[in-house]
């Protein structure tokens, strides 16, 4: 895939592939919207500073949206098979072994995403949060301040932005599962 001739694949097979496709469309739309907002924020930032009323929150908001875009991009790239690889071996293989390699690659991505999901789950510590009753109480009990950490100028907590990580972890899992199903279908074909 390249930005030059990006095409969004059509007509997916099976419910899992359809779900993945739907999620991917939503992610692409959200990503495009984020780029649009970053663009407008920078325009506004330059304009209002010129008028001597700097938008104190504009930079921080733009930066946070950009980081969200990175995590969205990682999930999108799974769906579009657009992740950057060194890709020396796959290009030289005949179709059958290449299909096996694709399956192996997708299983590795699945394993990676599961490990990350575990890391994120333990970091979020939802059971702990429910037991403690509030983010502040959790912080005093466990030294985990993730539900109380503030942004500098936005007036909201960081956790609202951090939620992009569990969210895209989940969508990434949907995409890679759909692709493994597709790999297996390809391998069953003679």
């Amino acid at each position: 895939m390249s930005g030059a001739d990006l095409h969004i694949p059509q007509a997916p097979h099976g419910p899992l592939a359809r779900l993945s496709h739907l999620v991917m469309r939503a992610e692409a739309a959200l990503g495009g919207a984020i780029c649009g907002v970053i663009f407008l924020l920078m325009l506004a930032s330059a304009t209002f500073r010129g008028l001597r009323h700097p938008l104190i929150w504009a930079d921080e908001l733009a930066v946070h949206l950009m980081v969200c875009l990175a995590f969205l991009g990682a999930s999108l790239a799974i769906a579009l098979r657009g992740h950057m690889t060194m890709g020396l071996l796959p290009e030289t293989l005949p179709p059958r072994p290449r299909a096996w390699l694709a399956l192996a690659g997708d299983v590795l991505i699945l394993m990676f995403l599961l490990v990350m999901a575990l890391v994120i789950w333990r970091w979020l510590d939802l059971p702990g949060l429910i037991r403690a009753g509030s983010g502040a109480a959790l912080a005093q009990k466990t030294f985990s301040f993730i539900y109380t950490d503030p942004t500098q100028t936005l007036g909201i907590r960081k956790i609202w932005f951090w939620l992009i990580m569990p969210a895209t972890g989940l969508t990434g899992l949907i995409h890679v599962t759909a692709q493994i199903a597709g790999d297996l279908r390809d391998l069953r074909q003679p």
Partner: protein
């Protein structure tokens, strides 16, 4: 050890580089017995790219996409070609010259090569250049941005070294021009070797037509330069202002784009910049874990033990930096290495800190284009459709040019050190 091994094997098997980097970070945490880092890992992952200068990436990708979609790039290059004499590989020289001019305003390689690859590569292809070679020439030109002032890398180094930015800018001027000259030589050689096309002889009226057609398009670079120098915008914001002008010119003057095309352009920008940004975040995470294990410090100590002269020190340092640059971005690379290497360079070997900074920054800038991880390499690859492997192969002569300039700087700096050459 295990981290390094699995890293290499997975990369060769074609696993996504970004995931391999994060996996290597996880393995390194486990091996080093620093499991405590896992507790805040997602947070550190996120914070690794919470940086204002990185905003240039999506914004300049947007500008590049818009210039391509709106026919701005085509007209600008036709105009530049109209100014050019009929020499072999003329458009490649035009490309280099455009890069040189942009580098005197921009300080970021990725910003520059993004715009240039949308502007120049399709035109060079139309003129009969192979697309992959055009992409390589364009990407290499991007390296001029962080070397010629202004430069984000030099500013960050100045902060770490507590040196005046202006002095560093002055120290980088000659090496930057030497780099441009070296690139011109490489283009000359490429032109001869690949028999690259000449720019056809043009009549005066054809030249004037090209200039007239390009007049509205010239507003775009004028806005980038003017808004920065005219104290209206930061370089990051200048990309947004120039994007706005691009939209206006493309929709209302050239009528090659409709407002309804904007969502498609934005989605394309999101896909490209999202993937590159995640890669940067992943590399940054690995760098953080390595720093936590005090690896930069140990590497610096090793160099100090091995080197018996300023020249030897600088050579070993260059090798270390080239290795670091294969994975890390210049800015985190500077922050990781400069604090541990600079005191040794100045106190033990009597090396001039300004010259040291120029060598360090040029070397780490090269990392943007070297595989396996380079934001510049992948942005260029995504924007031109040339595979990263192919692109890095074609960049080899340009890498050679950078290394030649680095070697020259290294020898001169060593000879000038107070400890003697």
């Amino acid at each position: 050890m295990i981290a390094g091994l699995s890293f290499t094997v997975l990369l060769l098997l074609g696993a996504p580089i970004a995931f391999v980097l994060v996996a290597a970070a996880l393995i390194l945490i486990h091996e080093g017995g620093n499991q405590i880092l896992l507790e805040g890992l997602p947070q550190q992952f996120f914070a690794g790219i919470e940086s204002y200068p990185l905003l240039t990436l999506p914004l300049f990708i947007l500008l590049g996409e818009l210039m391509g979609a709106g026919g701005i790039g085509r007209r600008l290059l036709a105009f530049a070609a109209a100014l050019m004499l009929p020499v072999r590989a003329g458009l490649a020289y035009v490309n280099l010259l455009a890069n040189l001019m942009m580098a005197s305003v921009l300080g970021s390689t990725v910003a520059q090569l993004t715009v240039m690859s949308r502007l120049a590569v399709p035109e060079m292809e139309r003129a009969g250049y192979p697309r992959d070679l055009s992409a390589a020439v364009t990407s290499a030109g991007g390296l001029l941005a962080p070397v010629l002032p202004p430069s984000m890398n030099l500013i960050v180094f100045a902060a770490v070294a507590q040196l005046p930015v202006g002095d560093l800018f002055r120290a980088a001027l000659l090496p930057g021009l030497a780099l441009a000259l070296a690139f011109a030589l490489v283009i000359g050689w490429l032109g001869w070797r690949h028999n690259l096309p000449r720019i056809g002889r043009q009549s005066l009226s054809a030249r004037l037509n090209a200039a007239r057609a390009a007049l509205p398009a010239l507003l775009v670079p004028a806005v980038v330069v003017g808004s920065i120098l005219g104290s209206v915008a930061t370089p990051t914001e200048s990309a947004a202002l120039a994007s706005l002008v691009t939209i206006l010119v493309a929709v209302f003057v050239y009528r090659e784009m409709r407002l309804s095309d904007l969502p498609r352009v934005l989605v394309r920008t999101a896909v490209t910049s999202g993937a590159v940004l995640y890669l940067v975040a992943a590399a940054q995470l690995l760098g953080w874990v390595m720093t936590f294990g005090n690896l930069p410090h140990e590497a610096a100590a090793m160099i100090r033990d091995l080197a018996d002269s300023p020249l030897m020190f600088l050579i070993l340092m260059n090798i270390l930096l080239l290795l670091i640059g294969t994975v890390l971005e210049p800015v985190p690379g500077i922050i990781l290495t400069a604090p541990v290497l600079l005191p040794i360079a100045t106190d033990v070997y009597g090396i001039d800190p300004l010259a040291f900074g120029v060598i360090l920054c040029l070397n780490l800038a090269l990392g943007l284009l070297t595989p396996p991880v380079g934001a510049g390499l992948y942005t260029a690859s995504l924007m031109t459709g040339v595979s990263a492997g192919r692109l890095s192969w074609l960049l080899t002569p340009f890498f050679g040019a950078v290394l030649a300039v680095l070697a020259g700087l290294t020898v001169i700096t060593a000879l000038q050190s107070s400890v003697g050459g």
